[in-house]
């Protein structure tokens, strides 16, 4: 019988939740890396037992953890005791080393970026927001980091190298952080085209490469953001998250800081599909595993409140690819609920009856085993949930 494994990153550690295909009874493992922020965990599609976790701390910086047994044990690749590998006699240990590329000619930083006050600011690595394992190779992973840049490992996270063509993109010096930082938080790999990848940055916008990450183009046409001087600017949009169905790789969905958007041409042009949502603000968005036109969001009250409308936690589902939305409330708290659902905290499984999952800043992880009709909490008292990913296991 199929199983599901839910990978939950929280403010104070990681948790692994497992169940059989009924998704009724859950085993909870954790906290792993107790006390550390786990921004994101994700498994390799090519080897489901290979997991990667972004472990981070304001005190001690960034660690990358790797598991080869589905999360039972973990290691810091490249960080173990190894013989010296350089003339200086220092052993290798670079699983957590994310160093921005510099100019080959001058050795100086490639660019600066725009700071909150409009002045230019040097790029400073802070943390890994999102890990996206390759669709075909368990040792290849992409990492979206703050300050916004894209890194890749091809040796199972032992070493990381920047795909600097993104930051070197002509608009890089104009990128500006949102209140939550200048983070690259969304990475989508196109299963039909290994050279194509989509990423999103707060608050720069969405970008696409068609040559494996060497060059990038901004794909923000059609977005409209009233909070920037030119609402239709090429960059500067606060994209919260994007999602794509693997069988419809040209169709993208986006939850922006205001507005739910859709593109039918790989981001060349977006149009709004917020429709009858009670508010078009939110962070998460995801697509049903088997129905490419069925999408999910969790509307959140804003600006600044960032909790459900009227204290009632509701997911919304559109079966028409947007515009027409229905509330999904059965089993979700409908009074006195003031949690948030952060951008990487929703996922779907691919069982016959698609399961939908999301985690909250109140420490609940909810599951709907029937595509959103009915919900129940898997766990209710975790630390604030930062990310949720799901693996469907044979």
């Amino acid at each position: 019988m199929s199983k599901v494994r839910v990978l939950v990153g929280t403010h104070k550690g990681a948790f692994v939740l497992t169940a059989d295909g009924t998704r009724n009874k859950w085993d909870v493992s954790g906290p792993h890396f107790a006390g550390w922020e786990i921004y994101h965990m994700k498994g390799s599609p090519a080897d489901p037992n290979r997991l990667y976790a972004s472990q981070t701390s304001g005190w001690f910086g960034q660690i990358i953890q790797r598991s080869s047994d589905g999360g039972k044990t973990w290691e810091t690749p490249g960080g173990g005791l190894k013989p010296p590998t350089s003339e200086g006699g220092m052993p290798s240990g670079e699983s957590n080393k994310f160093v921005y590329d510099t100019s080959a000619e001058t050795g100086k930083p490639l660019t600066t970026h725009q700071w909150y006050d409009g002045t230019q600011h040097p790029w400073e690595f802070k943390r890994v927001w999102h890990l996206e394992p390759s669709l075909t190779d368990p040792n290849t992973v992409y990492a979206g980091v703050e300050d916004a840049a894209l890194f890749r490992t091809t040796d199972g996270a032992a070493s990381w190298h920047e795909l600097a063509g993104l930051r070197g993109h002509g608009t890089g010096p104009k990128w500006q952080p949102g209140a939550g930082g200048l983070g690259l938080h969304t990475i989508i790999l196109d299963p039909s085209n290994p050279q194509r990848m989509f990423i999103a940055i707060s608050a720069a916008g969405a970008f696409r490469t068609d040559d494996g990450g060497k060059t990038w183009q901004a794909i923000n046409q059609g977005l409209r953001s009233q909070y920037i001087p030119d609402p239709k600017a090429e960059i500067g949009h606060c994209v919260h998250h994007m999602a794509m169905h693997g069988k419809r790789p040209g169709v993208l969905f986006m939850q922006k800081h205001w507005d739910v958007m859709r593109s039918d041409n790989a981001g060349e042009l977006w149009h709004e599909v917020s429709g009858n949502l009670p508010t078009d603000f939110g962070f998460v968005i995801d697509v049903h595993a088997h129905e490419p036109e069925t999408i999910y969001v969790v509307p959140i009250k804003s600006d600044s409140e960032h909790f459900p409308l009227e204290g009632r936690l509701s997911a919304y589902r559109s079966r028409t690819g947007g515009n027409e939305w229905e509330p999904l409330t059965k089993g979700l708290p409908q009074a006195n609920c003031y949690v948030n659902v952060l951008r990487d905290a929703m996922a779907v499984d691919s069982l016959d009856s698609c399961g939908v999952y999301f985690g909250t800043t109140g420490g609940q992880v909810y599951v709907s085993p029937d595509a959103g009709d009915n919900w129940s909490p898997i766990v209710e008292n975790l630390p604030a949930v930062l990310s949720v990913e799901v693996q469907t296991l044979a």
Binding site: G35, W36, G58, W59, F60, M90, G93, N96
Partner: protein
């Protein structure tokens, strides 16, 4: 033998005990102690000092003989009491946060 005391999170990460003993060739300095520590436990590279700049991370401080050495030159010799192992070299994390 130099005695190094680490914050709990770094002890967990390095899978070491509450006190690490290091052989450090003279002169014993901030830099040589941290180099030796990171050589023994490569996973600690980047957690105490920035990977690129080798600057101390902002929320950590270095204490020796009840004195804050966080802003002393990295190549200044540490007190003899530390070099001899009589007093520990302490890496201290800020007491803050949620």
């Amino acid at each position: 033998m130099i005695h190094v005391l680490l914050p709990a999170h770094l002890r967990t990460l390095a899978q070491c005990g509450s006190e690490v003993e290091l052989e450090v060739s003279p002169p014993v300095t901030l830099r040589s102690v941290l180099d030796a520590l990171e050589s023994r436990y490569p996973v600690l590279r980047g957690t105490i000092r920035d990977h690129g700049t080798l600057e101390r991370r902002a929320f950590l401080r270095f204490f020796v003989c009840q004195e804050d050495w966080s802003h002393k030159p990295p190549d200044k010799p540490l007190p003899e009491a530390v070099a001899s192992g009589a007093e520990p070299f302490m890496v201290v994390g800020a007491i803050a946060g949620g």
